[in-house]
Symmetry: D2
C-alpha cells in the first residue's frame, strides 16, 4: 500500500540529451498541478550530496521546452558510489521531506536511483534520457530522435561534398553499446553500409560491396559506423579501406558532441512531456523502482534493473532494406 507522496525532486544525470528540459518542465508542472511540492537538484547526484537543491514552480520552467541541454545540469559523482556518500545525499532529501524522486538519465543514473530506493526506501521513477536508445522497455528515449536528425543533417551536408568530389565518406556517430543512431541515420541518408555493435562487422563484406560499387563507377558512398562497433570506429575502417581499395578517395568524419545538443524535435518534446507527466502520476500511484517507457504507444513500466540489463535486438529486416536501397 502506498504512502501518499507530497514532495518530489527531479534531477538529470549522465550524458545530457535534447528534451531533458522539456521533461523537467513536464514533471514540475504536473507536480504543481497535482498539489505536490517540487524540488530541482543541480548536477545530478553531485548536487544531491552537496545540498544544491531548490524549490521549483511553474514559472521556473517557462520557455525551456525548446532548449537543448539541461537547466539542472548533469555530472558524474564518484562519491555517490559509496554508501556514506549516498547516506549524505539522502539526508539532504530527507531534511526537506522529499518523498519521491524522478531521475532522468541512462543506466548509470538508474543504478544510483535503485540504490536510493533499496537502501533508504525512497520511491524513485526513472525516465529514459539518453540519445543512444540503449535502454530496454521503451520504443523511444528522450533525445534519440533529435540526435538522429542532427546526424542526418550533418551527413546530408557531407553527402553534398562527397558528391562534388566523388568521395567515400566514413562517418562515425555516437552509440557505445547501441547502434540505433547509426542505423536510423544511415538508412535516412542512404548509407551504403552501416556498422553497429549489435551485428558482427565482416570487413570482407564491406570491401566486397565497395569493390562492386567501384566496378559500377559508383564512387560516392557513405558508410556509417557506430562508435561502439566491435571492429573499431571510423578511423579503423578507413585504414583498411585505404589499403585495400586505394582508388577510393576515402575521408573520415567523426560527428562527435554536436549530437548531444540542439533544440529537441517535435517527437522528443512529445515523448518528454508524456513521460514527465506519467512519472509524477506513477509516484502518486505508489510505483517505484521502475522506468516509464512507451511501447506501441502505451505507457509501460519496466523495473529499473530490467531496463538496464536487457537489450533490444535490432530488426534484421532493416539490414536487408539498407542493402537493397543503397544499390
Amino acid at each position: 500500500m502506498s504512502k501518499k507522496v507530497s514532495k518530489i525532486a527531479i534531477l538529470t544525470s549522465g550524458g545530457d540529451a535534447p528534451g531533458m528540459n522539456a521533461t523537467i518542465r513536464a514533471v514540475v508542472r504536473t507536480g504543481v498541478y497535482l498539489g505536490l511540492e517540487v524540488y530541482g537538484i543541480m548536477r545530478g547526484y553531485s548536487g544531491m550530496m552537496e545540498d544544491d537543491i531548490f524549490p521549483m514552480g511553474s514559472k521556473t520552467v517557462a520557455n525551456i521546452i525548446q532548449r537543448g541541454g539541461t537547466i539542472l545540469k548533469s555530472a558524474r559523482c564518484r562519491e555517490f558510489y559509496t554508501e556514506e556518500g549516498r547516506a549524505q545525499a539522502y539526508a539532504n532529501l530527507k531534511k526537506r521531506g522529499i518523498d519521491g524522486l524522478v531521475v532522468i538519465g541512462g543506466d548509470g543514473s538508474f543504478t544510483g536511483a535503485m540504490k536510493l530506493q533499496n537502501e533508504f526506501g525512497l520511491p524513485v521513477i526513472g525516465l529514459p534520457g539518453t540519445i543512444d536508445k540503449d535502454l530496454y522497455g521503451t520504443d523511444f528515449t528522450i533525445g534519440f530522435d533529435t540526435a538522429c536528425n542532427t546526424a542526418v543533417q550533418a551527413i546530408d551536408k557531407i553527402r553534398d561534398t562527397a558528391d562534388a568530389h566523388d568521395r567515400l565518406f566514413i562517418v562515425e556517430v555516437m552509440g557505445r553499446h547501441a547502434g540505433y543512431i547509426a542505423l536510423h541515420s544511415g538508412i535516412a541518408t542512404g548509407a551504403e553500409t552501416i556498422l553497429i555493435p549489435e551485428a558482427a562487422t565482416n570487413i570482407e563484406d564491406v570491401i566486397a560491396s565497395l569493390s562492386e560499387k567501384e566496378k559500377r563507377k559508383k564512387l560516392v558512398n557513405i558508410i556509417v559506423v557506430a562508435e561502439g562497433d566491435a571492429f573499431g570506429g571510423a578511423n579503423e575502417v578507413a585504414k583498411i579501406v585505404r589499403e585495400r581499395l586505394p582508388n577510393f578517395d576515402t575521408k573520415v568524419s567523426i560527428l562527435g558532441h554536436i549530437q548531444r545538443g540542439g533544440s529537441p524535435t517535435c517527437i522528443d518534446r512529445l515523448v518528454a512531456s508524456r513521460m514527465g507527466y506519467h512519472a509524477v502520476e506513477a509516484l502518486i500511484a505508489g510505483k517505484s523502482n521502475v522506468m516509464v517507457g512507451i511501447i506501441n504507444n502505451e505507457i509501460v513500466y519496466t523495473p529499473l534493473e530490467v531496463a538496464i540489463r536487457e537489450k533490444d535486438s535490432i530488426d534484421e529486416n532493416w539490414l536487408r532494406i539498407v542493402k537493397i536501397l543503397a544499390s
Copy 2:
C-alpha cells in the same frame, strides 16, 4: 492466386509531402533489386492519361532521399474522374505491360487507385503520403513528422517575438480533417490551447482559460488552431478574443504552405523507405487494393476503402496533458 508481377509503375498524387522522393527511391530500387522493371508516371493521374511515363533505374533516384517535393510531380486530374478518362489512362499502362501500380498520396489518390483496380483488375498498392495524417490504418504517414517539425520550428520563432512583446499568438496550422499537426506541434511548443476538428471547440472555455492567465499576468500565450477546426481558423478565433479580452495584444499567424516543403526528417525517411520496400513486396506477393501502414512498428495492410473511410480518434489523455503543462 497471384499472377507474377513484372512491370510496375509509381506515381505521386494529391498534396505533396516531404518524404515522397525517399519513397520513390525505395520503390524503384526495391523493384530493380527484385528483378522488376519500374516506370515513373509524371503528375499523378494526369501523366498517366497524357502518357507521360518513363522507365526508372537505380541511378534516376540517386541523391533524392533528402529532397522535399516530388520529382514525379503531382496534380489534380478532372478527366480521370470519368470512365473514359480512366480507360485512356489504363491503356497507357497496358501498352507497356505494366501490371502493378504504387500510388503515394491521400484519400483522393486512393480513390483513383481503387477504380483502376476495380475497373481494369490492375493490382494497386497505396502508400500514405500526406502531411495531415488523415488516413486510417497507420501510425505514421509520409511527411507528417516533417510537417510537425516545420510547424514547431516556426512556432518557436513566433514564441521568441511573443515573449519579447508579451503577446498572445493564434497560430493556424494545416489539417482540414485531422488535427494531428495542431495537436503535436501545440504540445511541443507549450501551447495554452489547441483547437482541432476532432474535438468540439468551446470558445467560452478558451476565453475563461485566457482570463485566468491574464489575472496571473501570464500574457505570453500561444493558441494553435487546425485550419479545419469547426469553429473557424485563427482569424475567427482572434476576432472573438480581441472583442472579449481587449487587454491581450493578440496576433495571428497562418503558417501555410511552408508546412508542405523541406527536407524530410529522419523518421519520415525511415517510414518512406520501409513503406516503399513493402509496397513492392506486397505487389509481388499478390496483394492489391490495400494501403501499406505501420502500426505498433509492424507492417499492416488496410483495404484502401477502409483507410479512407475510417478515422483515428485523438487520444483524450493528450488534451489533459496539454492543459496541465501549459499551466
Copy 3:
C-alpha cells in the same frame, strides 16, 4: 567637452529582432570591463517609466548570444509621448545616477532617445535593431540577415511544393517602408519578380512577364512582395493575377511573424557584438544623439535624426540581375 560616464542603462524597443540579446550581452560586458555600472531596463520606455530597472553583470548575459527575442522585452509606450511621461521616466534614471543610455531599436525608439537627450541632456546612443533595414547610416541592421535567411528557408520550402504542383506562389515578406528583405530573399530564392516600396510596381509588367513564362511552359514561379509595396500585398497581387492569367495555379503565402524570431545568424551576432562594444566606447568618448552603424566595414556615427529621416536607395543593378537570373 565630455563628462565622464559612470553608469549606463540599456533597453530594447520597437519590433524585436534576432541579435538583440547578443547586443545586450556586448553592451553589458563591455561596460563592466571598462569599469562602468550597467543597468537593464525592461520593456523599453515602459519599464523606464514604471521603474523596472535592474543592475546587470557579466553573468546575467551568459548564454544568450544565440537566443532570439530580447531578455529585456520590448513594448510600445504611449505615455512616453508626453513630456510628463518622459520626465517621470528620466527621474528613474537620475535617481540611480545613470548618465548614459543605449537604445536598441528603430525609428520610433530613436525618436524617444532624442527627446531624452534634448530635454534632459542625457547622453544617448542608438543601435539599429530592426529586421527591415530601414535606417540610414549603416550597411547592416541587427536582425536583418537573420530575417532574410528565415524568409529564404521558408521560400525554399514553398518552392518544393510549387515545383511539385507547377504552381505560382506570391509570397509576402516583412518590410513596411523598406524592401530589403524582399529584395534579398527574392534574389536568393530565384524569384521571378520582386515588388518593393522603393520602386513603382507596374502590374502590367508583372502580367507580361508571367504571360511570357506561360508561353514557355515555365509554370513554377515565385513572386516576392514586401508588405509595404504601394500596389498592395500578396493578396492584392494574386487577385489581379488570377483574373488576368487564370491558367496559373496561383497561391499566396504570407510569412508573417516567423521573420522576427529565431537564433541570429553569424553575421547578426558579429554586427551585434561589434555595435554593442562601440556603443559603450562612444558613450565613454562623449558622443551622444548618434546611431552606431557599419559602412564599408568601418564604424560610422550618424545623428539619430538623420538615421531616421534619410533613406538608402536600392541599387538598380540588382533589379536588372533579378530579371536576367529568373529567365
Copy 4:
C-alpha cells in the same frame, strides 16, 4: 582591344563550397541572356582534359540555387600540371570555339586558369569559391558565410552540452591558411579564445586566461581553433590544457567536412548571383586574368596572381572585442 566573346565555359575546381551552384546558375543564365553559348565542364580541369564538356541552357540550372555541392563536380587533376596536359585540355575548348572561361575555386584553380590564359591566350575570369576566405581582393568568398553559420550552429549545440556538464570544449574549424571561419564563428558563439594562423598563439596566455576563469568558477568555456593554427589543431591544444589544468573537463570536437556542405545562406546566394553575373560581363568587356571580388559593396577586379599572393590581415580590434565579450 577586345575580341568579341561568343562561347564561354564554366567549371568548379578545388574544395567545393556552398553557393557554387548558385554561381553556375548565374553564369549560365547571364550568358544565355546576353546571347552567348555556355558550356559546362565536369570535374574541373579533369573534365576539360577528358572532354567531358556539354552545352548548358537556362533550364539546366533550374532549381539549383539552393543546393550545396556543385552539379559540375570538382576534382584535382595532376595531368593538368604538365604543359602537354594543358594543351590537350585547351584543344577540347578550342574545337568547340570556346573563347572565354569562368573558373570558380581557390588559389590552385586560379593558377590553372592563369596558365590557360598565358599559354593559349584564353580569356579567363576567376570567381572566389572557397569557404576559407583565403583570397585577396574581396570581402566575401562564395561559401564563407554558409561555412561560418554551419560552424556556429554546430558550436551552439556543443555549448548546450558544455553547459550541461560544465565543460571546456576545444573546437577545431576549417581554415588551413586563413582564420576567418574560426574568428567569425568564435565571436558569434562567445568563444573564450580564438586561435588562428594570422596571430601567433601564446599557449601561456591561453592557460592564464583559463586559470583566471577557473578561479571565478566559470567552467563552461569554448576555445575555437583554426585547423591551420601554427600551434597545432584542437588535439594539440587539448593535450597541453589537460596537463596544465586537470580540473577542467576538457573535450575536443573537430567539425570537419560538414562545413563544406549544406544549402547556401542568403548572403552566399547573393554574392554568388552577383559575381556570376559580373564574370560574364567582364568576359564580354574584354577582361581576363582577373578575379571578380566585392569590396565595400563595389565590384572590384583583382589580377589572379595578386588574389593568390596577397593576404588580408585580420582586424586587431576583433581580438580585443573577443577578449572583452568572453569575460
